[in-house]
């Protein structure tokens, strides 16, 4: 269904890829760690290595969470990944694009055994 309007009604997406100056919007969440209230949004170059994204951008962003001291970069790589709701075999030596990440994609990662402040079920 389209918009009921009094005239012609068609517009560009305000968040189209071209508006991000060579980057794309990527959303990343460490599941169950809801001390951080929401997934992060980052503008990232598609050719940036997933490992660099995690090491230089995502892990520092999660530094306040006590679990972040317990998790190494390898733990994250071996974690359970979802890319846009489908399981992903994350390869940190490959770029975001090579891992299948697109503009407005959502990456979610779980590390078994690290489920927040008081363990299972509280999501903190």
């Amino acid at each position: 269904m389209s918009v009921n309007s009094i005239g012609d009604y068609s517009f560009d997406s305000r968040d189209k890829l071209e508006n991000f100056h060579g980057a794309m919007l990527v959303f990343i969440q460490w599941e169950q760690h809801l001390v951080y209230c929401a997934p992060f949004a980052f503008p990232l170059p598609p050719d940036m290595l997933l490992g660099d994204v995690m090491k230089n951008i995502v892990l520092p962003a999660y530094a306040y969470h006590p679990d972040s001291e317990k998790a190494t970069l390898e733990d994250f790589e071996k974690g359970q990944w979802l890319l846009d709701n489908k399981p992903l075999q994350a390869d940190f030596t490959k770029s975001l694009a090579e891992n299948g990440v697109k503009h407005q994609s959502i990456l979610r990662v779980t590390i078994p055994g690290l489920d927040g402040l008081v363990g299972q079920g509280s999501a903190a």
Binding site: N4, S10, D12, F20, V35, C37, A41, Y64, A124
Partner: protein
């Protein structure tokens, strides 16, 4: 005792008819369709505009009489509040953060409502609806003005209240109310009234005004109480306009039902998402609490809303879609929202803090099924770190919902540990949503929501004053270190502590 009464020349019905309905006419120099070009394109079919019912038979002369009486009372209170240093009589300066959120997030909506009803008051061809909309347009302007007047007194002493309209246009969390109202104002007049008069004023507004103004009374804020109730006394008329417009559309033509149902589904969900801000005001920002969000939801939506929709079922209308999700969320909403504003306190024009021991106990008591298990551990961690001098500030920007523009803070219905994600594709682009409700709204009118001005992504596109968070906050016109941050580290807190100390010395 018998009261001798001078008999009025005309009864209430007659007076109303001659001073309202008789003001309209069938145009002859120009066709009606050209004079009223906007009341057909939405697809609503009206056969008899005169069938519109006005339960409150208020004429313009009576309107001015009552409104001026209300204004006189209101300004008398505001004056004496200022003269008597009423700001020192509130329970605690934390309370004023609710006022800051109100002046930046609600008062601009009053002004937007003034504009929206001015449009509706011009463009319905039925004169009864025009007059009701015109009165409401004037009411809403009065609300915006009296709120600014009443709160201007606090602005002399406290941060965060100095640039409400600029902030409304720019600040990330204020895009939630702004986009809500802009969505309504860019629809036609029938959808506008369904959105604002029915879904907001009739179904949801009690959740905003009644607990909030009672909260103000409970916390010694007489200025707000008075403007709140002065505004609220107009609200019954507004609510009635809301229910009558629904009945009118449904009685005029059966073909209107699916359109009206779709609008009600949409505007219930949009309004409910907007009220997320109110839930946290009630449960966290009032030092003395009136009732919990959960209790208010049960009284004003589950009870009153169910009675309303049972009544409307005779027209074939159903409860708004996803109301069950809202009912489920009542145990979680305020905690998830407060947690969010605690995270992003560096970027808000009001302060946040962690609840004290008594407040934690109140929360456990009011939310036995959710608070202790899911939210208390989070908050205890924040408190522990804050005591060590490590107050949490989340400095990474969040992902936003394409429709309601709220960060992705909501969890899957039935599972408060897993963030809820929904998505759709339109013309080769992907769009993300916080809920099924928001996704459905987008899918009905994708061309409208792909234009959404989503604050985080606008920052990343370079449209908000600069690259660094500080640049953006300056563009928001924040006084850094005064308007934003932790309450206990704020100038508000220092000033309040000084006042209280000098008061106790004087005693």
């Amino acid at each position: 005792m018998a009261i001798t009464r001078s008999k009025p020349k005309m009864g209430i019905k007659e007076r109303y008819a001659s001073m309202t309905r008789d003001l309209g006419w069938e145009t002859s120099y120009q066709p009606m369709d050209k004079v009223f070009p906007y009341d057909k394109f939405e697809g609503i079919k009206i056969h008899d505009w005169d069938a519109w019912v006005d339960p409150f038979r208020l004429t313009m002369d009576a309107y001015w009489k009552y409104q001026s009486e209300k204004e006189r009372k209101l300004y008398a209170v505001i004056d004496s509040f200022a003269q008597n240093n009423g700001q020192m009589g509130i329970t605690d300066a934390r309370y004023l953060n609710a006022i800051k959120l109100f002046i930046t997030g609600v008062s601009p909506l009053e002004y937007a409502a003034h504009r929206g009803f001015a449009f509706a008051g011009r463009h319905f061809r039925g004169v009864g609806m025009r007059v009701a909309s015109q009165m409401q347009s004037i009411d809403e302007l009065r609300h915006a003005q009296t709120q600014l007047h009443a709160m201007s007194h606090y602005n002399k002493f406290f941060g965060g209240m100095h640039s409400s309209h600029l902030m409304y246009d720019r600040v990330w969390y204020l895009s939630v109310p702004k986009s809500y109202f802009d969505d309504a104002m860019t629809a036609g007049p029938f959808e506008f009234l369904t959105a604002i008069s029915f879904s907001f004023e009739y179904v949801l507004t009690n959740l905003l005004f009644v607990p909030f103004m009672s909260g103000a009374a409970h916390n010694g804020d007489m200025a707000t109480v008075t403007f709140g109730f002065s505004a609220q006394s107009d609200e019954s008329r507004h609510m009635t306009l809301g229910i009558e417009i629904i009945k009118f559309m449904l009685e005029q033509d059966e073909a209107n039902l699916p359109i009206v149902q779709r609008w009600i589904d949409k505007w219930f969900w949009r309004g409910y998402r907007l009220l997320a801000l109110v839930s946290m005001m009630m449960d966290y920002m009032l030092p003395k609490r009136v009732m919990s969000w959960r209790e208010a939801w049960e009284i004003y939506f589950e009870e009153a809303g169910t009675a309303l929709f049972e009544d409307l079922s005779r027209y074939g209308l159903k409860m708004p879609k996803y109301y069950e999700v809202a009912n489920w969320e009542k145990d979680h909403l305020s905690h998830q929202v407060w947690s969010t504003f605690y995270n992003y306190a560096g970027a808000t024009a009001f302060h946040t803090w962690m609840p004290n021991d008594n407040e934690m106990e109140w929360l456990r008591d009011k939310y036995p099924d959710s608070f202790e298990k899911h939210y208390q551990p989070r908050f205890e961690h924040f408190i522990k770190e804050q005591k060590k001098g490590n107050r949490f500030f989340n400095n990474t920007l969040p992902m936003l919902c394409q429709t309601c523009q709220i960060p992705f803070i909501f969890t899957e219905p039935g599972d408060p540990t897993t963030t809820c994600f929904r998505e759709t594709h339109y013309k080769g682009n992907r769009y993300n949503f916080c809920s099924d409700g928001c996704k459905d709204i987008f899918e009905q009118e994708p061309e409208k929501y792909i234009q959404a001005w989503l604050p985080v992504y606008q920052i990343y596109q370079g449209n908000c004053g600069g690259k660094e968070i500080e640049d953006v906050l300056r563009w928001y016109n924040f006084n850094l270190g005064e308007d934003n941050g932790e309450y206990l580290d704020s100038p508000d807190y220092d000033l309040w502590t000084q006042w209280k100390e000098s008061q106790s010395r004087a005693v």
